[in-house]
């Protein structure tokens, strides 16, 4: 039954699982059930091999040495940029900036664009479902510029409350920063609609793509977002890989974030001129091997097909939500899987999420318990914390069953 459904979705999950060495390990005497891909995904052998091969055969600094190794390293690094650009539909690879991922990217945007162009009286529009990394950098930019922060609320169903969009997005709004998919609620947001609304008032749209890009087909030409952040480690790539996309004119006009080697054109005693895009944003020795590893992750995901990835996650999220609800858990977030991804937050009876996670760990199940860097969401739904199970290409219905069965052990301990 499960196999048939997964075939229909186009992913051969058992074959995929064989590509991930870590999935064959145990926790104590239990097989690992990894349900925390929203925090970081596991890595297929192809990614691990790509990173190792880089170090074993091609390691050198990029854009520097006049020798073969450095040329090879540069070629692999720039090839990774071409692949990542193509993956998100960016026609110009130079519009993809490498860095450690979404947190660094939003800081780079809030600093390099925000502090340069925001001024007193301007407004930054966020939503209550933003990750702290899409709130705090804007608070810092607001403090530095005198701009003010506004927030769109969340509906009871866990969606962005669009009824307040028109009144919140005004000619004072200069930037609208929104997640593409909430990391705690799982909510998919209507990015294209939000981009149109932002552009209608002359604001730029920044999309936190940390959860979106790994799980849903993304084309920046269709979304028409101005900025899109990418966390490579959440899409099968190495930690500290990824970066952000921005429209070329924005990259040209904004300031760099990290000053140092390579990001300059000329340095004088009093000032410097900047390297061309993307070099302007890549000061210092970069995460070369990690971006090369990310290129292998992109290849892997493209071979699976992002439509198939999305279909698989919709199917497994639907199954998980149904089984969790039957077991007495309350889902925090949308239950309509067409409006959400595979990060499923829940509260199990009156057992505290930390206790749930400890009980699940004894069964080899890795979930996240806490506020998920979403304190505004926790306050909105009047919970201190939730337990979150998040799914990816390698997860099975059998693992959902293991999760639900293990929740029964919480009943044994806490008499819930």
């Amino acid at each position: 039954m499960a196999v048939t459904e997964q075939r229909k979705a186009g992913l051969d999950v058992e074959r995929i699982r064989a590509d991930f060495p870590i999935l064959s390990r145990t926790v104590g005497d239990k097989p690992l059930v990894y349900l925390d891909s929203a925090a970081t995904s596991q890595k297929p052998r192809a990614v691990i091999d790509a990173e190792r091969e880089f170090y074993e055969r091609h390691n050198a600094n990029v854009h520097r040495g006049i020798y073969m190794l450095s040329e090879e390293a540069t070629e692999l690094y720039e090839e990774a940029r071409v692949k990542l650009a193509s993956f998100i539909g960016a026609t110009d690879p130079a519009t993809v900036i490498f860095n450690r991922g979404t947190t660094e990217s939003i800081n780079a945007i809030a600093h390099g664009w925000g502090r340069k162009f925001l001024k007193e009286g301007d407004e930054i529009l966020l939503t209550d479902m933003e990750h702290h990394s899409n709130i705090v950098p804007w608070q810092l930019a607001a403090r530095a510029t005198g701009a003010t922060l506004r927030y769109l609320p969340i509906t009871d169903d866990g969606l962005i409350d669009l009824s307040t969009l028109e009144s919140s997005l005004t000619d004072r709004t200069k930037v609208f920063a929104v997640t593409g998919m909430s990391n705690s609620l799982g909510t998919l947001t209507p990015v294209h609609l939000l981009a149109d609304a932002a552009h209608a008032v002359g604001a730029v749209l920044v999309v936190d793509g940390a959860q979106l890009v790994p799980h849903v087909p993304v084309d920046v030409r269709v979304l028409d977002c101005d900025f899109l952040t990418i966390s490579g480690h959440k899409m099968l790539g190495p930690t500290a890989s990824g970066g952000f996309y921005a429209k070329r004119e924005l990259l040209e006009e904004m300031d760099p974030f990290i000053g140092g080697g390579h990001m300059i054109h000329e340095v004088y005693r009093e000032y410097s001129t900047w390297n061309d895009v993307p070099g302007k944003f890549e000061g210092g020795t970069m995460n070369i091997a990690q971006e090369v590893g990310l290129a292998a992750a992109v290849d892997y995901l493209q071979a699976l097909g992002m439509q198939n990835v999305r279909a698989h996650e919709e199917e497994i999220a639907a199954y998980a939500i149904e089984r969790l609800q039957d077991a007495g858990a309350r889902i925090v977030g949308p239950v309509d899987v067409s409006k959400r991804g595979g990060a499923v937050s829940f509260v199990y009876r009156d057992v505290h999420p930390h206790d749930v996670a400890t009980v699940l760990n004894e069964e080899g199940i890795a979930v996240r318990a806490g506020h998920h860097c979403n304190q505004l969401v926790m306050r909105r739904f009047n919970v201190a914390a939730t337990t979150r199970a998040s799914f990816y290409v390698y997860n099975t219905r059998r693992e959902v069953d293991a999760l639900v069965n293990a929740l029964g052990k919480a009943d044994d301990v806490f008499g819930a």
Binding site: H352, H354, D355, E362, A369, H371, A384, F414
Partner: protein, 148 residues
């Protein structure tokens, strides 16, 4: 079963039937703190008389470990001098970091928390109430010093 190491009967009993869980309006010492990792929060109320803690209570919400630790704490520290409480707090921290072998007479039911050592991420839950009490006491002594 390994879960028995952390979820001992004593802990579950204090979690389900917390002792001294009430506000104490007008208490000499009141202090609140939360664990930013999980959102657990605890407020401790304490009344002191002749250098001894006469009555200690708490309110808060959180996991079984943070709440049971708070409950046990209120029972254990009542009647002790500030110096004795500070020494006990240091020993509880030592037990939870695996550095101190608990003296069963001095610790009483608190020995039940020893199993938390095996769950490093949960140690913060167990020490939360003790952090709150310690900060309450140090604020109490600094405000007393300021009054002189």
């Amino acid at each position: 079963m390994a879960l028995d190491d952390i979820y001992k009967e004593v802990i579950l009993d204090h979690y389900k039937n917390p002792r001294n869980k009430r506000e104490m309006p007008g208490a000499a010492l009141t202090h609140s703190k939360n664990n930013p990792l999980c959102g657990d929060e605890i407020t401790v109320f304490a009344d002191a008389e002749d250098g001894k803690l006469r009555e200690v209570s708490f309110v808060g919400q959180g996991c079984s470990i943070s709440q049971s630790s708070a409950s046990m704490m209120t029972e254990t520290v009542a009647g002790k001098t500030v110096g004795e409480v500070e020494e006990l707090t240091a020993n509880v921290r030592g037990m939870l970091s695996g550095d101190v072998e608990p003296d069963e007479d001095a610790f009483g039911e608190l020995v039940a928390l020893k199993g938390v050592v095996k769950y490093p991420i949960r140690v913060k839950c167990a020490v939360l109430a003790w952090d709150v009490l310690q900060e309450a006491l140090s604020q109490g002594s600094s405000s007393a010093a300021a009054a002189h």
